[in-house]
Each structure stands twice: as structure tokens, then as C-alpha cells.
Symmetry: C2
Subunit: 445 residues, 2 copies
């Protein structure tokens, strides 16, 4: 652990020295893509050191998979026996997710909207005290405020979990990975290990909060509930989570599962866990009924709220596109009329709508290519579809042989690298990474 | 058969009388959606009569499924023992597809571009002698010309198949359903029934032609091969079909299948059959290898060429969106520059690109909703994903229990109606039908 820290610090020092001479150059927009992508990649490379040096994960591919799964807050694991690992390693594993989550918050409020990526401006328009035009002066202020909420909620969850009888070590680890919507657990059976309704409901609430835009949480803490409820993304997020859980609960209940409370709790836990892209597990949804597998598969493409630590496509984009699809028909009927999409009562510019459309298209394209490539590793149909969906959406568990009660150890090294890249792509909202692969990016560097 | 004809004619007569008084009103754009949708629906309703009255398919849901599967040139069947049906019924079944194919040609060259649906203008821009602005005068001329090609190719295939030893009855039936990219066969085992390389290659060639824009075939017949090769959609269609077949052939061959020629033929047949959305079968691709199932599943979203009888998303749309995705990154780097997508050397307007984006998004949305709904009928994961993909793409065989060697008889009535609606949606390029479900459509009727 000490050695790992030393190597990382030394490398950081060298890079700092090398870059000092450019200190006074102003950062350009195009540098943003490179810095963010390289930042996440180098964190993931150096983050493997504790796993490698302690011998907890001796294989480099496995260690990299586990680390990038941490920093991207995905939560997919190659470990079969988590409980046998030393506590220091388990804590590092949880910490990668929490650090990743902090990074995502800055990214969401400060960097992505400036880069104009896939409609992230939509989120910023709602954030307190920042406008897309003149946000620089207050960026630091806003980031600090949201980090404070992030930190505060982590502590609050930790204390509430300890009330439920969790040890301090398990409570802090689970709090770190809940707030990051990461999903790494210190137990082999994830949250199913805790047979306590109290603990499970606490985690449900904090998963839901972690998947809520931190700006909304900020308003909520300030007592502006009206403002929270008026936010269309939050409303849809809440209605979808609860509504779907109730429907699923009836099916699970009617299929002779324990009581209705247990059926509802299991449904709600799994739905919130997948929607928020956390990936904790208290029940194997792939074992419930075939059609529920389909529904959970579709949920992998929902994602949480923009401006939270959740991954995936995100509800605000779905909301916008759903509304736009209806308006598209209205536009066909009145070709000369200009009919903008309205979100939270404000008209959304055609450019942003186009941006969001392009984002989702590229998401689907990358998904298709990912499934195509992973299928060459010999995995079956369900596993291929599930593994790519869960990696790109930064969720954790997939379907088939990478389902909720399995892990990713059986995937080939090629498959692991592919999924690792997909995690990074998904986490950095596709464009940040893909931009670097574009010829035009380098042409005038 | 006579009774069926009488009922249809009588109903037609009544409708004709009712609509006579509006004869002099000019047709408006909004009427287009209604006429096309109702046209296909009423054909599908009256088309059930031969099945019902002959007792070949006594159940109305089943008969409607089979008929709409015919008129939409899908080719999904609920029949288990096709060969036991009377010849007249089998011929009617093939004819529904051929008539559907004729309808699609008019739709593609005349109606959809006028309605401005999902980038169909792109195709018209290439069609001989028509321009989006002043196409009315020559619409009849163009439609006649393309119908002649359709008819000519049907006869040519019929004769070539008879050379291969097929009976006249089987040859004409298979020709009707090949050119419509329909895929109904008169044999229980589809084209696998004919153990003749000659017959299978003939069918491959005609499936490929049927999935080629009829405009390109027209140019080809006129000897303008240069013009055909310069068409980006045709080039991608050819490269994808042949390239993918060669790759798959190596896998099938290495997995100890008969000879290399047989492996290549099986691969090419299945690839062309799915890409062109025909749906004939000579081998069960779901039994080859799990990763090949994934590839065939992805192929279900490719579709043939615009302006052919093929269904699905279509290659021109994929080409445009693929190019646009790359340019989107260029645009992010140079926000002030206007960078249009170029297709066949011409700049495509932003409006059309947006249209195509919206089309594909709605396709994905409808697919998701379809999978969600079908999953309630109790089918498993593979079947749900495959059945909806094959119905919406107008292909025929799916995955799981509706795979290439199975049929749709085990689907519940609700499922059959759902898939029937999806076939219609897919065939009429989504907007035509969805428009009618939109409140705005009726608000000022």
C-alpha cells in the first residue's frame, strides 16, 4: 500500500514537472477531452497497484478491470470470494468508487456542459448559481457545495447503517459505494447478506438520493420542495422507480414469494439499484420470470438523473426524446411551424435536442458494436447483451453468466479489456473519449 | 375463394359509393397517412377471408396474423404443416406478399417522400426522372417502370427455378415471395427442402436483387454500372452482405460443417435472407454458435436498401447516421462551422439528417416498448427480443422459440396482435401509423 502510494506520487511529480512550462497557457476546449480521458485512465492504471502489489488480484488485466470498474462507478467485479480479501484492499476498492463519484460531480457541473456534450447543458440550466455563459467564476463554489452534500450523505448513510447493526467497516464501505452509485460490496452475496428490512430500505433511499441530481438534493435540503417536484426529470425518475416496483412486486408476490412486503422490497431494491446504475443485489431478478429479465434489461438503458453520480443514458434525455418524438409528428403535420420541445416549462433549443438525439444514437451504435465484438469471445446471447449493457451503463450485474449472482471472472482477457473501455466510454458520456479517436481532433494539434 | 372475392368486392363497392361525394376534394398530406394505414389494414382484414372460409386457418387471430404477415412482406407464420394446405390457399398466401411488395414500391417512390417520412427523400433524390419538388407528373411513369422490373424479375426467377427442377407451382410461389422479400415458402422446411446448390444460389441472387433499390436495378439494366457502384447505399449493402458471409463461413466451416462451399452458401443465404428481410431458411443460425446468434440478431436491425421491397431501418439511414456521428465530433471541435453530411457526393440537409435521427430513435423506442409488452405474454428473453425485432423489421424468423425452424403458433393471442401491429408499423416506416395515434392529427380534422 505504501509502495503503491509512492509510485503514484512519484509519477505525478514527474508529470507535474514536465507540464510546468506550459503553466501559463490557457486551457482550450479540445484539451478538456484529453485531460478528462487521460485523468480517468491514469487513475485506473495507478489504482491497480494496491491490488497487484498486495497479491489480492495478481493478474494485471483483472486488476485493471476491477479498478476501472471502481473509478467509473460501475461495480462489475472479477472477484469470486470478496470476503477473503484483506480489509485494506476492500476499503481501497470502495474508495475508487467514491473518488470516481466525486470526479463525476465536477465533470457534470463544470466540464461536460462546457464541452457541450450530449445535452449536459440541460442539467446546468437547472443548477443553482450557474449559467452556461458565465459559470467559471462560481464553478468552484458550486462544486464545493455539491461535494459537501456528497460527503454529508455518505456520513449520514454510514451512521444509519450502523444503527441497523452493520459494523463500522461494512457501513463505511457500503456508504462510499452507495453514494457513488458504484455497487461494490464487502460481502460475497452483496446486500442479500443483510437479512434486515431496515438496512435494505436505508440503502434503497440512499441509492435513490445518489441517483437524484445533486442540485435537486440541494434544493430539497433548502426546503424548496416545490422546485424539486417541478423538475420533470425528478418526477419521471420517482414515478418510474416506484410505479414499476409496485407492478413487479405483484408479479413476484403472485409467483408465491414470501410476503408482500418482502416482494415489494425486493422489487424496489432491484429496480432502484438498476435505474440508479448502482448494481447492489438482494435477489436474482433473472430467476424471477423470463419477462422480468426483459424489463430489467430495458431498465439498464434508463440511467439515473443527470448531475448525479448515476451512469447510463439518463432520464432527462429520455424525457426530452420522448417529448420530441411526439412533437416530430406535430411538425410533420405543420411543416412550416417551429415547435420546440419544452422541458421544465422552458423551450429547449433545436441544437441541444439534436445533441441529445446524436448522443443516444451513438450510445445505441456503441452498444451494437460492443455486443458484436464481445460475441467473438464465445459468450452466449444473454451474457453478450447483458455484459455490454451493464458496462456501458456503469451498472454492475448483467444477464446470463454475468448475472446478479455471478461475476465477470469467466470473461476472456479480450472481453475484459473491451468491457473496461465501454465502462470508460459510458462514464465519460461517450463524446469525451470518442472525440480523441477522431482524426480531426489531432489534425491541428 | 369465390365468396371471399364477393365479400371484398361488395365492401369495396360500398366504400367507393360513400366516398364518391368527396371525389373532387384534393387529397391533403394528412389524408395520406390515413389512406395508407387503412389501406394496409383493410387488405389484411379482407385477406383473411380465404384462410377463414376454406377452414385452412379457422381462428381469426391466426388468420389475421398470417395475412398481415403476408401483406407487410414479413413472412412470420403460425402454420406448422404448410404442405398440408390446399394449393389455392398456398398461392393466396404467396400472393399477399407479392401484392404487399407492389404496394411498398409505390409507397417508397410516391407517397412516403411526399409525406416527408424519415429521410425517404434521400431515396427519391436518386430515382430516375423524379425530383422531390416536381414529381407528381412523372410518378405514374416511374411507378410503372419499377413495377415492370418487379414483374420481370419475378418471371425470370420463376423460370430459373424451374430449370433447377422445381415444379411450376413451387417456382412461382417462391418467386412471388422472394421478390417481395416476404419469405413465405410452400415447404415446411423452407428452402432447406431443396438440397440443390443451384436453386439456393438463384434464390440468394434474387433475394439480393429484391433488397436492392429498384432504381439501382433500373440503372443496372440500362448498363449504367458506374452509377450503381457510385451509390453508397448499394456499395455498403454489397460489402456488408458478402464480407460478413465470408467471415461467418470460416466460423461455420471450422466448426466441422460439411464442405467450405456448403458453409459459404449457408452463411451467404442466411445473411442475405436476414439483411433483405426475406426470412427464407436453409440452416438454423441459432444452432451454429452463440456469438453468431448475436450477429444475426444485430443484422435484424440493418434492413435492405430504401426503394426496395425490404423492410427494417435500411442501409442508407445507417450510412447517414454513421457518417453523421463522426461529423458530430468534428462539429464539437469547430462549433461555428457548418458541416453537412455528404451522401453520394451531395450535401444532405440538416432537416433530413434530423428526420433520419428521429426515425431511428422512434424505431428503438417502439422496439423497447414492443419487447416490454411481449414479455408479459410469458415468452423467454431470446424469444421476446427476437420476435419483436423480426416483426418490426418485417423479416420472418426470430430467435428462441420463434427461431428459424419454429413458427409463431405458440405465441398468445395478445402477442400475435401486438406483433401484427409492429409489422404494420415497421412496414409503413413508423410515422405513417404513429401519426394517426397523435392527438394533434385529429384535433383539426
Amino acid at each position: 500500500m505504501g509502495l503503491a502510494g509512492f509510485i503514484t506520487a512519484a509519477s505525478g511529480g514527474v508529470i507535474w514537472l514536465v507540464t510546468q512550462k506550459d503553466k501559463n497557457k490557457e486551457l482550450k476546449k479540445r484539451d478538456g477531452y484529453l485531460i478528462v480521458t487521460l485523468g480517468w485512465l491514469s487513475m485506473s492504471f495507478f489504482g491497480t497497484l494496491p491490488f497487484l502489489l498486495s497479491g489480492a488480484i495478481p493478474n494485471f488485466t483483472d486488476a485493471f478491470f476491477e479498478t476501472i470498474s471502481g473509478f467509473t462507478t460501475t461495480g462489475a467485479s472479477i472477484l469470486s470470494d470478496i470476503e477473503s480479501l484483506p480489509k485494506g484492499i476492500l476499503f481501497w476498492r470502495s474508495l475508487t468508487q467514491w473518488i470516481g463519484g466525486m470526479g463525476i460531480i465536477v465533470l457534470a457541473v463544470a466540464i461536460l456542459p462546457l464541452l457541450g456534450i450530449g445535452g449536459m447543458q440541460l442539467f446546468v440550466a437547472e443548477a443553482p448559481g450557474i449559467s452556461p455563459d458565465k459559470m467559471k467564476p462560481r464553478i468552484k463554489e458550486v462544486a464545493k457545495r455539491l461535494w459537501l452534500i456528497y460527503l454529508g450523505l455518505t456520513f449520514a448513510e454510514c451512521i444509519l447503517l450502523m444503527f441497523g447493526g452493520m459494523t463500522f467497516f461494512d457501513a463505511i464501505n457500503h456508504s462510499l459505494t452507495t453514494m457513488a452509485t458504484g455497487g461494490f460490496s464487502t460481502k460475497n452475496t452483496s446486500i442479500a447478506h443483510y437479512n434486515s428490512a431496515y438496512i435494505q430500505y436505508v440503502i434503497i433511499i440512499f441509492m435513490f438520493l445518489a441517483g437524484t441530481s445533486f442540485t435537486m438534493t440541494y434544493f430539497g435540503l433548502k426546503g424548496k420542495f416545490n422546485k424539486v417536484w417541478q423538475n420533470e426529470e425528478f418526477r419521471n425518475y420517482l414515478i418510474l422507480s416506484v410505479g414499476l416496483s409496485i407492478c413487479i412486486a405483484f408479479f413476484v408476490f403472485s409467483a408465491q414469494w414470501e410476503g408482500f412486503e418482502k416482494s415489494f422490497r425486493d422489487s424496489l431494491f432491484q429496480v432502484v439499484s438498476i435505474i440508479t446504475t448502482t448494481g447492489y443485489v438482494t435477489a436474482d431478478y433473472t430467476a424471477w420470470a423470463p419477462f422480468l429479465t426483459v424489463i430489467f434489461f430495458l431498465l439498464m438503458f434508463t440511467g439515473g438523473s443527470a448531475g448525479s453520480t448515476a451512469g447510463g443514458i439518463k432520464i432527462v434525455r429520455h424525457t426530452l426524446l420522448f417529448k420530441n418524438s411526439f412533437l416530430e409528428m406535430k411538425r410533420q403535420l405543420h411543416p412550416s411551424a417551429v415547435i420546440p420541445v419544452r422541458l421544465n416549462g422552458k423551450a429547449v433549443s433545436g441544437e441541444i435536442t439534436y445533441n441529445v438525439l446524436a448522443f443516444v444514437m451513438i450510445y445505441v451504435l456503441v452498444y451494437g458494436v460492443g455486443v458484436f465484438l464481445i460475441s467473438f469471445t464465445g459468450v452466449d446471447f444473454d451474457t453478450a447483451l447483458g455484459a455490454v449493457a451493464t458496462s456501458l451503463g456503469n451498472i454492475g450485474p448483467g444477464l446470463g453468466s454475468v448475472g446478479p449472482v455471478d461475476n465477470f471472472s469467466a470473461i476472456t482477457p479480450f472481453g475484459k479489456w473491451l468491457l473496461a473501455i465501454l465502462m470508460l466510454l459510458g462514464r465519460l458520456e461517450l463524446f469525451t473519449v470518442l472525440m480523441l479517436l477522431n482524426r480531426n481532433y489531432w489534425s491541428r494539434y
